[in-house]
C-alpha cells in the first residue's frame, strides 16, 4: 500500500545526515559532558558545537541558547521563568488564545499562583491584533506570549508589530516558534523577541532536543533544579546525541531553507486550491500569511477522527485539530477561539507536508481525500444539513 506522511507538525522523519551525526554519540562517544576526562570533554565540545549551529539558525549568540528536552518544556520554562523572575514588578501576563497547551496550561498555573492572565482573542483567521495587545497591557504586565505561527491552522502572527507594541512599555515578549523555526526565516534580532522556543523534530531533527532562546542579560528562574548544566539554568545530564542531531538539523535547515519553502509551497497550494473546490470544505487559517507546507480544513457534516482513520487505511497520515484535543475528543480550543462553530470544528483536518512528499503523493491525497469525504457524508446523520445552526454562523471560504 502506498504510504504518504502528511503530519509534519506532529513530527518529522530524521534527515539521514542528522542520523549520521548522532550515531557516534549513541555508540562509542557516550561520555557525560560534565566529566573531566576525555569522554566528557568530547561530549561537551559536541554540545557546544551544536549550540553554535542552533544559534546560527535564529541569529542568536551561543550563550543565548538553552537546550531543553522539548518545545513544551521550553514554553513552560519561558512562561514560569520570566513571570517568577519579574513578579516584583507586576503580576499580569498576556497570552493569545492560539497558543499551544504548554503555554496555555503554564498560564493557568500562573493564575493559580496569583498572577492575572489575559487571553488575547483572535479573529476568524487566527490573527492576534497588535492593537488588542496594546489595549490589554496594564501597569502590571510583565510578559506577553504569542505564538509565531499556529501548527493547527498555519496562520503566521504579526509578531514584529506585537513586539513593537510591547516594547513601547518595555514588556518582555516570548514566542512559541516551534512550528516556524527551521521552516520559515526566523531571526530573533529582526523579530525583536526576548525569548523563543524551538524544537528539533520540527526541522528533521530528533525528538528529545529543543531549545529556548533567552536574550542575553535577561534573568530567568530555572524550571529544573539540580546541577550546573546549561550554565546553571537547566539541570540534568544532557541528551548529547539528540542535541548533536539538533545542531546538524539546524545547519541543514539554514542552508536549505529557501529550497524547502520553494518546493513545498506549490504542493501546499495545490492541496488548498483543489480542496477549496469541494463543497462545504473550508480552509482554516489565513490563506496568505501561513506556513508554506500547511493546509488545514474544516469539513462540514463529518467528524475529523473518522476522516483520519479512513485516510490512514488508505496510507494517508494526517491530523485532526491539536493532538491534545483529538486524544481527548474535544473540539480544538484554537478553532473555537477563531469563532468556528463547535459542530464544524469537529470536522477539522490538518495536512502538513514535508520534504519526503513527492508531487504524486499530493495527487494521491487529492484522489483519496474527496473520496473519503463523499463516503463519510453518505453515512452521516447530518447529510441533509445541521438543522438548527449554532450561534457563530458558518465558516466561509476566504477568497
Amino acid at each position: 500500500m502506498k504510504k504518504c506522511y502528511f503530519d509534519h507538525v506532529a513530527t518529522n522523519p530524521l534527515h539521514p545526515e542528522v542520523l549520521e551525526a548522532m550515531m557516534p554519540y549513541l555508540k562509542e562517544e557516550f561520555g557525560n559532558p560534565l566529566s573531566v576526562y576525555e569522554y566528557g570533554m568530547r561530549a561537551k565540545s559536541a554540545i557546544e558545537t551544536a549550540r553554535e549551529k542552533v544559534a546560527g539558525l535564529v541569529n542568536a549568540k551561543s550563550a543565548e541558547i538553552i537546550f531543553t528536552a522539548s518545545g513544551a518544556e521550553a514554553n513552560n520554562f519561558a512562561l514560569r521563568g520570566i513571570a517568577l523572575a519579574r513578579q516584583n514588578e507586576g503580576k499580569h501576563v498576556l497570552v493569545s488564545k492560539m497558543e499551544h497547551h504548554s503555554v496555555l496550561n503554564s498560564a493557568r498555573f500562573l493564575e493559580k499562583s496569583g498572577f492575572a492572565v489575559t487571553y488575547l482573542p483572535v479573529d476568524r483567521n487566527g490573527f492576534v491584533d497588535p492593537d488588542t495587545v496594546k489595549k490589554s497591557i496594564t501597569n502590571e504586565t510583565v510578559l506577553i506570549s504569542v505564538t509565531h505561527a499556529s501548527s493547527e491552522v498555519g496562520t503566521i502572527e504579526p509578531l514584529k508589530e506585537i513586539v513593537r507594541v510591547a516594547k513601547e512599555r518595555n514588556i518582555i515578549v516570548h514566542t512559541d516558534a516551534v512550528a516556524t523555526t527551521g521552516n520559515i526565516p526566523v531571526d530573533v534580532k529582526d523579530l525583536g523577541v526576548d525569548l523563543l522556543s524551538m524544537a528539533a523534530h520540527q526541522f528533521y531533527g530528533p525528538k528529545g532536543a529543543a531549545a529556548l532562546y533567552v536574550r542575553q542579560g535577561l534573568r530567568i528562574v530555572p524550571l529544573i533544579y539540580g546541577g550546573i548544566q546549561e550554565s546553571g539554568r537547566r539541570a540534568g545530564t544532557e541528551n548529547v546525541p539528540a542535541i548533536v542531531g539538533m545542531g546538524r538539523a539546524a545547519e541543514l535547515a539554514k542552508a536549505e531553507l529557501q529550497k524547502r519553502i520553494d518546493y513545498l509551497r506549490p504542493l501546499r497550494d495545490k492541496v488548498i486550491d483543489t480542496m477549496s473546490g469541494v463543497e462545504r470544505v473550508y480552509l482554516t487559517g489565513d490563506r496568505v500569511n501561513r506556513l508554506p507546507a500547511h493546509a488545514s480544513f474544516c469539513v462540514e457534516y463529518i467528524e475529523g477522527e473518522a476522516m483520519l482513520l479512513l485516510l490512514a487505511a488508505k496510507g494517508v497520515f494526517s491530523a485532526s485539530g491539536s493532538a491534545c484535543s483529538s486524544k481527548a475528543l474535544k473540539a480544538s480550543p484554537v478553532l473555537l477561539s477563531m469563532g468556528i462553530p463547535s459542530s464544524l470544528a469537529q470536522g477539522s483536518i490538518v495536512f502538513s507536508l514535508g520534504m519526503g512528499n513527492a508531487p504524486e503523493d499530493i495527487d494521491y491525497l487529492l484522489t483519496e481525500f474527496p473520496a473519503v469525504i463523499k463516503r463519510l457524508r453518505e453515512i452521516s446523520p447530518y447529510a441533509q444539513g445541521w438543522g438548527e445552526r449554532e450561534e457563530g454562523g458558518e465558516c466561509t471560504v476566504k477568497e
Binding site: 534573568r219 530555572p222 539540580g226 550546573i228 550554565s231 546553571g232 539554568r233
Partner: protein, 83 residues
C-alpha cells in the same frame, strides 16, 4: 560581613537565579579575565554565596571588598590581586 556602597566595578556579572555552584564557577571564570587591581561585581540570589565568596577570596588570595544587599539579590565585590 563587610557592607559597602557605591563601589565602581570594572566588570559585572549577573547570575541571579542561576543555581549553585554557578556563583563559584562564574566567579572563577570572570576573575581569570580581570587585570590585577580590577574589581568584579557579582550579582546572585544564592544565600550560600554569603559564606562561599569570602572563603573563595581567602583561599585564592583575592581581596573581598564587601557586599551590598539589593533586596532580591546580593552584590559582591572582589578585587583581583597578584598571587
Amino acid at each position: 560581613m563587610k557592607f559597602v556602597e557605591n563601589v565602581k566595578p570594572d566588570v559585572t556579572t549577573d547570575i541571579v537565579y542561576m543555581m549553585c555552584p554557578m556563583h563559584l564557577l562564574k566567579l572563577e571564570e570572570q576573575m581569570r579575565e580581570l587585570e590585577q587591581g580590577q574589581i568584579l561585581e557579582i550579582m546572585t540570589d544564592y544565600d550560600g554565596a554569603l559564606e562561599d565568596i569570602p572563603d573563595w577570596c581567602e583561599k585564592t588570595g583575592n581581596e573581598f571588598l564587601g557586599m551590598e544587599d539589593s533586596g532580591d539579590f546580593f552584590k559582591f565585590y572582589i578585587r583581583k590581586r597578584a598571587r
